[in-house]
């Protein structure tokens, strides 16, 4: 669904906490952010997903207050914070490089924000250690940042950004500085902490796995605009465009013409397949229109025997097979010349007689495995 349609549908959402309306940022003659509309609910973890240069970081910086919006509005908990300087916003950010003050101890780093508020010493001490306990870094309070590992620095940075109990927490590529090994574990841990504390969070990342693991909802951005917004499952299963389909996970893209158009199903004639496609949901495009269809590799079933039915299967030859550990990736050259990818779980391969390279093969899929793309 497009973002404006979404916004319209949820206009009266009582849980809405952050609302970004028509936000634009222009640098010289470069339009970094083109009229973005966004609504984030209270206590929701929301991810902005996109590759570098898509405008997500600029958007985040505008939310933090480090960039002045060229036009548009940012509402937080009913208050317009568009023109409020960063040191007066109830917003805190965890930086990609963590930005821990090197000349201060861990304790001083976390206490810094509270000191600026004028909180009294006893309360600062309590809250600082409360935050450090949350991230399990209380024992390191006297160390300096350069004495900590990357993961430890991240926790301190998180504690520092949570100790002020901000209305909105911003995370800038939170996992980018960590090794791949510990990334997944940290993602889950971080999400748990955020849910435990109960804070609204907007994070920015280029790693779709990160977004899908941590976020309740995400928005895919490219070239300064949000192209799709929804829960990770929705966006993955029902991408609205070739861009989103290809950006999140990998997919097989087919092009064809609608030959049967019913409210609850459509059939598509496709030159790349010898049999028509049958999709089990209705589409808004009319009969005869050319559309694109996306089928995820894990939805393609591979077998040596010809499937039954008129629709949703094709014949071809295995051109390449890559063993990925938990699954195998088959590249199949169909009779039409089109190459598709199918991913087959290792379990299935072990149980049956797995086809090898240059062998003839059939690929088939369910009626609800294919999605018609809007663009």
């Amino acid at each position: 669904m497009s973002d404006s349609r979404y916004a319209a549908q949820h206009a009266a959402d009582p849980d809405e906490f952050v609302r970004v309306s028509d936000l634009v940022k222009i640098f010289g003659d470069v339009v970094a952010v083109k009229s973005v509309n966004l609504a984030v609910r209270r206590n929701e973890i929301f991810a902005l997903l996109g590759s570098s240069g898509c405008g997500k970081s600029t958007l985040l910086r505008m939310l933090a207050g480090f960039e002045e919006a060229t036009s548009g509005q940012i509402m937080l908990d009913g208050e317009d914070i568009t023109a409020v300087p960063p040191y007066r916003r109830p917003v805190n950010m965890m930086f990609q490089s963590y930005a821990l003050f090197p000349h201060m101890t861990v304790e001083a780093n976390v206490a810094f924000g509270l000191k600026q508020e004028g909180v009294d010493r006893a309360e600062i001490h309590d809250r600082v250690f409360e935050a450090l306990d949350l991230v399990q870094m209380a024992g390191y309070s006297r160390r300096k940042p350069h004495q900590l590992s990357g993961g430890q620095q991240q926790r301190v940075a998180l504690a520092r950004s949570l100790v002020k109990r901000p209305k909105l927490l911003l995370l800038d590529e939170p996992m980018s500085a960590l090794d791949k090994q510990i990334r997944q574990k940290t993602q889950i841990e971080l999400a748990k902490i955020l849910e435990q504390v109960g804070v609204t969070c907007i994070m920015v990342t280029h790693d779709q796995e990160e977004a899908m693991t941590m976020a309740h909802r995400l928005a895919v951005m490219t070239e300064g605009q949000i192209v799709q917004c929804g829960t990770p499952q929705d966006v993955y299963a029902f991408p609205n465009s070739r861009f989103v389909a290809g950006f999140i996970g990998s997919t097989n893209l087919l092009t064809g013409t609608i030959v049967v158009d019913e409210p609850d199903h459509v059939a598509i004639e496709c030159a790349e397949l010898t049999r028509p496609l049958y999709v089990s949901h209705g589409v808004s495009e009319p009969l005869g229109m050319e559309v694109h269809v996306s089928i995820r590799p894990e939805r393609l079933v591979v077998s040596r025997t010809q499937p039954q039915g008129e629709y949703n299967w094709a014949h071809g030859m295995v051109s390449h097979m890559a063993w990925m550990g938990s699954y195998a990736l088959y590249q199949v050259r169909l009779d039409s010349g089109k190459v598709v990818e199918a991913s087959v779980p290792s379990l299935q391969l072990a149980q049956s007689d797995a086809p090898g390279i240059d062998e003839e093969i059939f690929v088939s899929w369910d009626a609800d495995s294919a999605t018609v793309l809007a663009s």
Binding site: Y87, N92, M93, F95, F112, G113, E117, H146
Partner: protein, 269 residues
């Protein structure tokens, strides 16, 4: 990968450093020469060091120079850091090129130009405003600060450029006003550069002959002026002694500061 040529390297560096240090060493060696003919060695002696201690003119000139140098360094660091910060942190603004131009002028313009211009201005001010009443410590100080602030600005600007901007942003994000950020985050982090800049200004001020000559008045003779007027007339062994003391003092300080910085840098790695 091929490294640089070793004989070429030894030759270039060896000759270069010999060229740089031969005069300094010769100065120091001949300060211990018993003969008043500086370059004819007649025996080891510390007499010239003794005569230094009795040389009132030289000592009072030295005291004045140290005072002016300390005042200059402090003022130059304040103004120069301000300028360096503006150049390093603020984006393009109208007149940026003019700003950079005016700031780099004292670095390269011959000191006689600066000296003449400032002196003429002070004379003019005396004529119209009646102030400053006479040239002396104040006028020399102004000249030195104008010269040194440009050097400070260069040093500080380079350091600030290398400073991670996200540290200042994080402080803002946590609720610190820009002023607080400057004093609690930026300044502590560039402190070593501030010290270097102070020492640099101190040295430049202490060593200046031209500006001091133009801008001094009755009773305000600086050390370089005193030394210069003496050596114009020939070689003077007390000057050798003075030079040796000076070189040893400066050399020790520079090496110490360098060791400290090197250790600090290795620590944070």
């Amino acid at each position: 990968m091929k490294g640089p040529n070793n004989t070429g390297r030894s030759l270039a560096l060896g000759l270069g450093y010999f060229f740089l240090y031969a005069p300094i060493i010769s100065l120091m060696v001949f300060s211990f020469n018993d003969s008043p003919l500086v370059t004819s060695w007649s025996g080891f002696s510390l007499r010239w060091y003794g005569s230094l201690l009795n040389d009132d003119a030289l000592l009072s000139a030295a005291w004045l120079s140290f005072k002016i140098a300390a005042l200059t360094a402090t003022a130059a660091v304040v103004i120069g850091t301000w300028a360096g910060y503006v150049l390093g942190r603020m984006g393009r603004f109208r007149g940026f090129a003019l700003y950079v131009g005016m700031l780099s002028a004292p670095l390269v313009i011959p000191e006689v130009v600066l000296g003449i211009s400032l002196l003429l201005m002070f004379v003019e001010m005396r004529g119209t405003l009646g102030w400053p009443a006479e040239n002396g410590t104040f006028t020399i100080w102004v000249g030195h600060v104008t010269l040194c602030m440009a050097f400070v600005a260069v040093v500080i600007q380079a350091r600030i450029r290398d400073l991670d901007r996200s540290l200042e942003e994080a402080a803002l994000d946590l609720g610190a006003t820009p002023l607080t950020v400057f004093f609690r985050i930026t300044l502590p982090l560039i402190a070593p550069a501030l010290v270097s800049a102070w020492l640099l200004s101190f040295t430049l001020s202490l060593d200046d002959v031209v500006l001091a000559s133009f801008l001094s008045g009755p009773g305000s003779t600086t050390l370089p002026m005193e030394v210069f007027s003496r050596v114009r007339l020939g070689l003077k062994p007390e000057v050798n002694a003075l030079a040796t003391l000076f070189i040893l003092a400066v050399g020790t300080c520079v090496v110490l500061v360098n060791r400290l910085q090197w250790r600090k840098e290795s620590e944070s790695k």
